[in-house]
């Protein structure tokens, strides 16, 4: 069952259509990627999920029930353009946002202590936000997003502004949150992190959904009948009527070959023709990166 559903969401700003019958289905405990070029309508969709703006038509469901104003307490949101009150102290600010999310002061304090310790920013409690580095501010903001233990968390470009070490910390925290039962919607341009983290994605372009499904399935579908083979030693494989050789490399006592079949055929049939050539150590359908798919899909429409 989907934890969150958006059905046929349409939103117009004057004559501009920001979303045109967009639907997403986010399974429970899934990391769901929301992709698309700039101006595609992602932010509008995220704002609608957060009930910052309402859709012109379409329906939203959380846990199978219609999305209600009180549901903001079970949703966490880290916007792309994030901000904190610059003149306010870090601790006070975190408390303020926690209270806006419905936590009592004592409960908020208890959880804040835990998170500040966990992300190693206890010393910054009494500092003003403007004294913090950007990465530090991001950490504070991350904490305010997840503090009320939301069931659904929306991260819009969560890794920008982080150095690789801190980005990794945040990545692990996201995985940890999923482990603990949270469902995550994750909007990004960083396709590497999509492959790494996302289970499912929806690709939006010009207000419409143009690609959706699980990451693995999509990559398999877009794999243009290409396979990577690795042989032990120096091996030579010849083209035949089943496939063409795209590349043939011999390095470090290994031979790497990429081939492309002429049509859809069972991998066993390919294996049969190459097995005799030498000692095969790996055979993989070559999956295109999400980056390639993104570019190909979007460019084909422009």
């Amino acid at each position: 069952m989907s934890l969150f559903e958006a059905r046929n969401i349409t939103k117009q700003f004057g004559s501009l259509t920001a979303l045109d019958k967009v639907s997403i289905f986010v399974p429970e405990q899934c990391i769901y990627g929301l992709l698309g070029p700039n101006g595609a309508g992602k932010t509008t969709l995220i704002r609608i999920i957060n009930q910052i703006t309402g859709p012109d038509s379409g329906e939203l469901f959380l846990n199978g029930k219609k999305l209600m104003p009180e549901d903001v307490y079970t949703i966490g949101y880290l916007p792309e353009e994030r901000g904190l009150y610059k003149k306010m102290k870090v601790g006070e600010q975190a408390l303020y946002f926690a209270q806006l999310k419905g936590l009592t002061k004592t409960e908020a304090m208890r959880r804040l202590k835990y998170w500040f310790k966990k992300l190693d920013i206890v010393d910054w409690w009494g500092k003003k936000v403007e004294e913090l580095s950007k990465g530090m501010q991001q950490k504070v903001q991350f904490i305010t997003t997840v503090l009320h233990e939301p069931k659904l968390i929306i991260f819009d470009e969560p890794f920008t502004g982080f150095d690789p070490v801190n980005a990794n910390i945040i990545k692990n925290e996201i995985l940890f949150l999923r482990e603990r039962g949270a469902t995550i919607i994750f909007s990004t341009h960083n396709m590497g992190s999509v492959e790494e983290l996302c289970d499912n994605i929806t690709l939006i372009d010009k207000a419409k959904t143009i690609l959706e499904g699980s990451v693995n399935e999509i990559r398999r579908k877009w794999a243009a009948h290409e396979y990577d083979l690795v042989f032990h030693g120096n091996v030579r494989v010849e083209e035949n009527n089943l496939f063409k050789i795209l590349s043939h490399q011999n390095e470090n006592d290994k031979t790497e070959i990429r081939l492309k079949t002429k049509e859809e055929i069972a991998s066993n049939d390919i294996l049969k023709t190459v097995m005799n050539a030498g000692n095969l150590i790996s055979f993989n359908p070559s999956l295109p990166s999400m980056n390639e798919i993104f570019i190909r899909v979007v460019e084909s429409r422009h």
């Binding site: 309402g54 104003p69 903001v72 949703i75 009150y85 209270q99």
Partner: protein, 453 residues
């Protein structure tokens, strides 16, 4: 509701804790007081440049003799009587000769003497010349009637009239009042209203812009409705304004009580006269030590009377109407300011929107100044009814007494208008705070008004 209170609390506490708030709260009354004292002092002192003025009188010898030295020298002006000089020559050279100007008097234009100068002469100088001449001419004319003992008669008939006013209410009760006090209060009330509404309204705008440019707003509105954020901010800042106002009221009441009990208390007079500036001291010198402790000097009696008259004002009414107009006027303007703040990306962009908002306020202030002279004029009446100007103008009218129905109409209109504006501002605000990078126009804002949720 709970969330609004969280927002109000934040807005209130962060502002009240600021150093600038504490400094303003203490400094503003001092500044006000010094302004009240300084402006008359500066106005009286005028420009201190010494002026030498040549006086040329034409006509018969008798006429010349009669007008000789009739304009007395003052501290800053010296009038030099130059017989036998041609005015046309001197007009060309007076500057080089060290004269500020040339005063030319002939029998033909006795009532309109001519003053030649390089610069526009100050009003004080002109008044001095005309009053001196006027007195002299009147005296000359009186002399023509051959009245005996003219000088002593003139001394005897010199009088000074000051009207003391008593208001009669329906029950026939008399209250001694003072138009001076009413004028002072009108000025003060109108100006304070203007300051508070504008100052704190602009603070709302700055707060909204700060939230928008720092992008805090996106996080906040994912937890609360934009309207809640807007109202929380407006109410929070209103409370800051009320707090400041209350502190000022307490300080004033405290100061007045202290002044009344010490300065105007009879026993304290000797100390005071010692502390008063020299010129008042010298006037008080004839009063002996003994009489000082038993009776007040004339100046202090006067001040004491003003104080008593001030006490007779309807303080409670003034206080209540002030609070009412501050709250409603502030809500009206603050919501407009909030809408403007939401529509722009930074403070410099607010200029184009500020003008239409500032104009009614400036008008109100101008009318309020006129109201002090003529509280019953129809322009004062209308401006105290129209919601955009009524808070300031009504405050200027209140000390002179306003019919109940006018106050009621003005207040009802005010409430209706502020509700309408808060509602419209909320709609503009809701769309505006999430719009970036686009220059907004009034037309655009009008469109936002009609967007659905």
């Amino acid at each position: 509701m709970n969330k609004i209170s969280v927002i109000i609390k934040r807005e209130y506490i962060t502002r009240v804790r600021k150093k600038s708030f504490i400094i303003m709260t203490i400094l503003a009354p001092l500044l006000m007081a010094s302004m009240v004292i300084l402006i008359p002092v500066l106005m009286l002192s005028g420009d201190k440049e010494f002026k030498k003025i040549a006086v040329i009188v034409n006509g018969s010898d008798q006429f010349k003799e009669g007008l000789k030295n009739i304009i007395p020298d003052t501290e800053d002006e010296k009038f030099e009587y130059l017989p036998g000089v041609d005015v046309n020559d001197l007009v060309k050279t007076f500057d080089a000769a060290g004269y500020y100007g040339v005063l030319y008097i002939t029998p033909e234009v006795l009532n309109t003497p001519q003053l030649y100068s390089k610069k526009q002469p100050p009003i004080g100088l002109l008044e001095h010349i005309s009053s001196s001449l006027q007195k002299e001419i009147e005296k000359q004319k009186l002399l023509g009637y051959n009245i005996q003992n003219l000088d002593s008669i003139l001394m005897q008939i010199r009088t000074n009239v000051s009207v003391s006013t008593r208001l009669v209410d329906e029950s026939g009760k008399l209250t001694e009042t003072s138009t001076d006090v009413a004028m002072g209060l009108a000025y003060f009330g109108g100006f304070l209203m203007y300051m508070l509404v504008f100052l704190f309204g602009a603070q709302v705008m700055r707060g909204v812009i700060e939230e928008k440019t720092s992008r805090v707003v996106e996080v906040v509105v994912s937890s609360v409705k934009p309207v809640q954020l807007m109202m929380g901010k407006i109410i929070g800042i209103a409370l800051v304004g009320l707090t400041q106002f209350m502190i000022w009221v307490f300080l004033t009441v405290g100061a007045v009580t202290i002044v009344k009990s010490t300065v105007l208390g009879k026993a304290a007079i000797p100390e005071i006269t010692q502390n008063l500036p020299g010129d008042i001291m010298s006037e008080n010198q004839p009063v002996t030590e003994a009489s000082q402790s038993t009776e007040m000097s004339p100046e202090l009696t006067e001040i004491s009377k003003v104080f008593d008259n001030a006490m007779n004002q309807h303080w409670l009414l003034i206080f209540i109407t002030f609070i009412f107009y501050f709250i409603t006027g502030y809500l009206l303007y603050a919501s407009v300011f909030a809408a403007i703040g939401s529509a722009v990306d930074n403070e410099t962009e607010t200029q184009q929107f500020m003008l239409p908002v500032t104009i009614p306020i400036i008008f109100a202030l101008l009318v309020a100044m006129g109201t002090m002279r003529n509280p019953e004029s129809s322009i004062s009446f209308w401006f105290s009814i129209i919601p955009f100007t009524s808070p300031i103008v009504m405050m200027a009218r209140i000390p002179f007494g306003v019919p109940f129905w006018q106050l009621a109409v003005s207040m009802v209109l005010m409430v209706v208008t502020f509700i309408a504006f808060v509602w419209m501002a909320a709609k503009v605000y809701r769309t505006g705070i999430l719009m970036y990078g686009k220059k907004t126009s009034w037309k655009e804002m009008w469109k936002w008004l009609r967007y659905s949720g």
